[in-house]
């Protein structure tokens, strides 16, 4: 069971997920401290490790739009979060697959903070309120990267095959 800990609206940009003024911090081991840095309450709770890994951010359309900064994916992954969105912006989705941040495309998802979700391969079930919301599979090109364990592992394998 995965608990919803945050609800984001449509068009949440990478400036919200990881504000530009922290871009000098690049290493995935260091980026989690600035996750949603301008939302003091949420960032504070994340820093205090108030949430279990595998907790869920629910988002609307076009989550992760804007800058290609990879910190936006690594900062969420660092907290072990899952993002379930009605839709993702292209570069953010690619960065997430490349780094192994779990992203789920669920165009009708409806859930509130505190709800418990059961996630299968094909649907998200809102256990608290009822309702099954179908998942759109990731593009095969992205799934192949995830199956390889991320883009670094995938590239390493390709390099060794030469």
């Amino acid at each position: 069971m995965a608990k919803v800990i945050y609800r984001a609206g449509d068009d949440v940009s990478t400036d919200t997920i990881y504000p530009g003024r922290f871009m000098a911090t690049v290493l995935p081991s260091e980026t989690p401290q600035f996750c949603f840095a301008d939302d003091k309450a949420f960032n504070g709770a994340l820093q205090k490790k108030a949430f279990e890994p595998g907790s869920v951010i629910i988002a609307g359309q076009n989550f992760g739009c804007g800058s290609s900064r990879e910190q936006a994916a690594s900062t969420l992954k660092g907290h072990g979060l899952i993002v379930i969105a009605r839709g993702f912006a292209r570069i953010f989705l690619q960065n997430s697959c490349n780094l192994g941040l779990r992203t789920i495309i669920c165009p009708t998802i409806d859930a509130e903070v505190g709800d418990d979700l059961a996630i299968s391969d094909t649907a998200v079930r809102n256990v608290t309120r009822g309702g099954d919301f179908p998942i759109i599979p990731l593009p095969p090109a992205r799934q192949a990267i995830i199956d390889a364990g991320g883009l670094i592992a995938y590239t390493r394998r390709r390099l060794m095959e030469r």
Partner: protein, 429 residues
């Protein structure tokens, strides 16, 4: 079925006679660009080679461009140290297209790639920056990637697992009326398509308004295509592309002016008559929240910004300088000017534009991304409002989540600098 420009470029880069939308392909990359985030690219690149027994080697040091622009000169010890690491890496790997922090070359990466002649029509260009879409202005297929994806390109020389995208055709016809510019056209198009309307798609620009448009305007269209979510924006190469590359960028090698097939299949066709457009404003806090200027005219502003990879070119500075000649920036308004490159800076200095702007009260900064992304050089105070020729107005974008950012053309920015409120440039002052 014929192919779009994106399909043709991908087919060539894959050595295939054709590709279809949805195919997963691995195009050879002609140019891989990054800026300060090269520090992260280097980290990920080194990890790729871990445990392989192979020495970390880039596939082609002549096809990698590294340009410092996001935080120049360094705003912190951390950035300075990152830049130092990148400088050492670039030297060790003999990367030739490197532009350091110095006044005799360089500037914003997207301007530098164009004016140094690194861009070519028909090429596949990837950049660890979302505004890499800019280079479609020269007829290339150019798209933004994350740092790890760029590290993968450095290792393999190919972009792996690329899905051939659909294309939206935008046809812009007619002549712009006075003080209406390519910036107003692209803001209008983003408003029509919405912030995700072109997500996973390419925008191809056509029509006589585009054919007549100089390279500076085409760069604006393609630069901001990503604000509709587009993978790439492309203006099919033509006589203006050749003129720019030969006369301004000094390119002498043969050019492949890739054209779409007449029967190419488009996901959607959007037609715009530019002669009916008024100056457009993107209002807080999304770029697709676009209104005609009448809806927001009179809004008080605290900071005016002219610059960035979108609108920091010579013609933009010329418009601003012509408007501000003999006039003053309103009291209580800070006007910041960021030329897009040192080449532009020096030319604007020679032509007197910078002196005029400074005399009017503007602060002319060194070329770079400046305050566009809120790192340094011009943060906003609590509750303040900026009117800017840059490309994003997201909450927090200029360093303060309680501030508002409106986006506009240089003509609107300059007219508003004098009055201190959002002002229609067609109105005489």
């Amino acid at each position: 079925m014929g192919m779009t420009v994106a399909q043709k470029i991908l087919a060539r880069a894959c050595g295939l006679p054709s590709v279809a939308v949805g195919d997963v392909v691995e195009p050879a990359v002609d140019l891989a660009m990054s800026h300060e985030n090269t520090a992260l690219v280097i980290n990920q690149f080194s990890e790729v080679f871990e445990g392989t027994g192979l020495a970390p080697t880039v596939w082609d040091p002549n096809r990698i461009a590294v340009i410092f622009d996001h935080r120049v000169p360094a705003e912190s010890a951390k950035t300075a140290t990152n830049q130092k690491k990148v400088r050492e890496f670039v030297g060790r790997h003999r990367i030739t297209k490197f532009h350091d922090v110095r006044g005799d070359s360089g500037g914003i990466c997207h301007q530098v790639l164009a004016e140094e002649g690194y861009d070519r029509p028909g090429h596949v260009i990837v950049g660890a920056d979302s505004h890499t879409t800019s280079h479609g202005a020269l007829g290339a297929l150019a798209f933004g990637v994350g740092a790890t994806e760029l590290a993968s390109v450095w290792a393999l020389g190919r972009a792996v697992n690329i899905q051939v995208p659909d294309t939206i055709k935008v046809v812009a016809r007619g002549r712009f009326s006075e003080s209406v510019t390519p910036k107003d056209l692209i803001l209008h198009v983003i408003g029509l398509l919405t912030a995700e309307g072109a997500n996973f798609k390419v925008i191809e620009f056509h029509g006589d308004a585009v054919t007549r448009m100089p390279m500076s305007g085409r760069l604006v269209l393609c630069n901001m295509s990503v604000e509709a979510g587009a993978t790439s924006g492309i203006v099919p190469a033509d006589a203006e592309t050749v003129r720019y590359l030969r006369e301004e960028a000094g390119v002498t090698d043969p050019l492949d002016l890739v054209q779409p097939d007449p029967d190419a299949d488009y996901a959607r066709i959007v037609e715009v008559d530019v002669s009916t457009l008024a100056p457009q404003i993107a209002c807080p806090h999304t770029v697709d929240n676009v209104k005609g200027i009448a809806a927001v005219a009179g809004t008080k502003v605290h900071q005016i910004v002219i610059g960035s990879c979108t609108n920091g070119r010579l013609d933009d500075l010329e418009v601003a300088s012509a408007r501000l000649k003999g006039r003053k920036v309103a009291q209580g308004v800070r006007m910041l000017v960021f030329p897009a490159s040192w080449k532009i800076y020096k030319e604007a200095m020679r032509l007197g534009f910078l002196a005029t702007l400074i005399e009017a009260g503007a602060v002319v900064m060194n070329p770079g991304c400046g305050c566009c992304l809120g790192i340094h050089q011009g943060a906003l105070g609590d509750g303040e409002t900026a009117l800017s020729t840059t490309n994003r107005n997201f909450k927090g974008r200029m360093g303060n989540p309680t501030a508002d950012v409106y986006l506009c053309s240089p003509a609107v920015a300059a007219a508003s600098a004098i009055t201190g409120v959002i002002t229609d440039p067609r109105q005489k002052d």
